[in-house]
Symmetry: C2
Subunit: 238 residues, 2 copies
């Protein structure tokens, strides 16, 4: 069977793919999918990604005992439990809890991917665990970069290139974006943080005072859990 | 004045940019913009890009004495003068003529860019001449890759990276796609042909028997003319 390993560089390009032919990996390195991986690793029962703060708040109004995560411009929104920093997703805070996470780019990517065979969540935190699982699936894989406001960003693409690096010798046909992502990973892999520091997005994130979050999100293989979409919830793949 | 040097990786992403803020360079290396640069260099009075073979044929029906270029699957369509090979755009064939060129990806990119301050055509053939002119303009620049079926391709992105290479020390702010394109160019620049041979698109073009066209389109600085859009026609910038 011919298996493809394709990279969708932004959610705006998802309509170009037959998503039902793929296992999809959603990637939003700064910071949604990193926080999701860390939270699921730390025993969160489920993480529900939503686009809007109002949707997030609605879970409380419905009487659910969920943790609500929402931030704007790097600040936790008043009335919410915490923001999108991975440091909010520690064992102490999220174990056995369901978290509703507000994330624009990531939710958009998930929504457009929902007809895929399976949807899992990737970040540098669970890189090798994710790749080892993908190798066992014998399916075509589409790596979907959440990007920035529907456009290309380097951090998500670099991570896609890291996945390609681990899978490319396993019989997949790569599309041009996958080749490019992998080549960019070759350039950046020895010091990903340094490589990304030259991007405009890196500058923007620095101004938000979240350098610690960035450093955290670039740690490789500190978790093994693979979050998988089950209905509207992300749960731990078992 | 802050000038941006941005790269739009596929026509599908053009709506993310305020095209009216930019001088736009349209890039479709295999083979539309290479053939256009060569044809304008060789004295074509104008080149009119259209999307559909029917539109192309309509120029003859209207009684115009234009050369009509149309091909499908690498073959000249019956009743047309020639196809999209740059070898059809020699002085002998196009001097003082107007050519109507059928090109799906390139025309799509041009159409979506039409509100830009100026629209010019780039290819490896006129690379340095184009960059030297861009430097004199003191405007933000958007390099629009025509791509392949609305998705990213390596050859157009690599060329965008070559333009970034010549402009990046001239006071522009680069977006993430521009940084990525330039990094890919660093990887491929010593042997662009070899670098592109690993792409699926390269394979596809080889099967069409147009290896000679590909080699031709990767020649750097063999022309100096810059095609610019004037209404619906591409003419020589003077």
């Amino acid at each position: 069977m011919n298996k493809n390993l394709d990279v969708c560089l932004t959610p705006a390009l998802i309509p170009l793919y037959n998503v039902e032919d793929y296992i999809i990996v959603v990637i939003d390195i700064f910071r949604a999918t990193s926080s999701i991986c860390y939270g699921i690793e730390n025993g969160a029962e489920a993480i529900i990604p939503v686009s809007e703060i109002e949707e997030c708040a609605a879970y409380r109004e419905k009487g659910f005992d969920h943790l609500l995560a929402a931030e704007r411009n790097g600040e936790v929104v008043a009335g919410f439990d915490f923001g999108n920093s991975p440091f909010s997703y520690t064992k102490e805070k999220v174990s056995s809890k369901t978290v509703v996470l507000t994330t624009t780019n990531g939710t958009h990517a998930l929504h457009l991917s929902r007809k895929a065979k399976k949807i899992v969540i990737g970040s540098f935190l669970n890189l090798t665990s994710l790749c080892n699982w993908l190798k066992t699936q014998n399916e075509s894989i589409l790596l979907v970069c959440a990007g920035w406001k529907n456009n290309f960003n380097l951090e998500d693409t670099l991570f896609a290139g890291a996945v390609v690096e681990q899978l490319k010798e396993h019989g997949y046909t790569l599309d041009d974006p996958a080749i490019a992502a992998n080549d960019l990973f070759q350039i950046g892999k020895n010091d990903i943080s340094q490589y990304l520091s030259k991007t405009s997005h890196g500058e923007r994130l620095k101004k938000l005072g979240i350098e610690k979050d960035i450093a955290f999100c670039l740690q490789i293989d500190i978790t093994t859990a693979i979050p998988i979409l089950d209905g509207e919830k992300l749960i731990k793949l078992v």
